[in-house]
Symmetry: C2
Subunit: 163 residues, 2 copies
């Protein structure tokens, strides 16, 4: 086991985690897009896939101030979230209900990222990693916006699912 002596060690460890998480999301999103029935949802997830690719790049750049090269460490939490999403998507749901469920799954993923970027930004601030804070803050803002967009879509998807 590695020793986390300083906050800089913890930051580096967490950055490796989110680097893996973003990569896992980039891999999982195409399956979610394929499963979306509503055009608006498909569009939102497709835009988020492009954004996720940018997030991977930003996280890679955020490694610079740590003095260590960009490396992913498997994020078990995201693996669990995606496993759950795949199991749920495998269920034979009606199209509107499937969309409502898909939105809920995507929002869980978003919230994992919001929590992680929140921690990383606090730590980057305290470590004086100005560039990393800026980059990770941009990712966090994106995730929060997507979460809100999905909440809005949810109201429509759910109303349709109810009818």
């Amino acid at each position: 086991m590695s020793k986390l002596e300083t906050l800089a060690d913890a930051f580096h460890d967490e950055l490796q985690d989110v680097y893996s998480a973003e990569q896992q999301i980039a891999k999982a999103l195409p399956k979610m897009i394929k499963k979306a029935n509503s055009g608006k949802l498909s569009q939102a997830l497709t835009a988020h896939l492009e954004q996720t690719k940018l997030h991977v790049e930003r996280v890679a750049s955020a490694f610079e101030e740590t003095g260590k090269s960009a490396k992913a460490k498997k994020c078990e939490a995201m693996a669990g979230l995606i496993k759950e999403a795949e199991e749920t998507m495998a269920q034979d749901a009606d199209s509107d209900v499937a969309d409502a469920i898909l939105i809920g799954l995507a929002q869980k993923v978003e919230h994992y990222e919001i929590a992680t970027y929140g921690t990383l930004c606090t730590w980057a601030d305290q470590l004086g990693y100005t560039n990393a804070k800026e980059l990770l803050g941009q990712n966090m803002d994106d995730e929060e916006k997507v979460d809100k967009l999905l909440s809005n879509l949810s109201r429509h998807a759910n109303l349709a699912a109810k009818a």
Copy 2:
């Protein structure tokens, strides 16, 4: 595979998920409390353990309007979050750094719940499950408050970890 024909089916499925998640958290928290070094963090997590036991009861009551009995379905996402937390806690960290990490892990758990209760409350509202919406809304409020409290503690824990 079960078929999710209606939003009511999806709600019931998700309720089984969060029922499992809360039970997993109630089991994991004592290990986190044991690992906390700061008195304030230990206190906050202990209070949250008591709250979590109440959350389990509220979720059980929220099943009533579905007309089905309370049953948990293993939440793979929470299992992943807890696996990650245990692996991280097993690392040999200095005490202040360990607390900063612990807070970050707890906030990931909180955010999973915030996302899940958000979806459940929206669906309960649309399904006319008034009582369930009230109970799950109370749980969501608690999780949001704990998340904010942890953010505040984080600033102190992190500053100590930096020194």
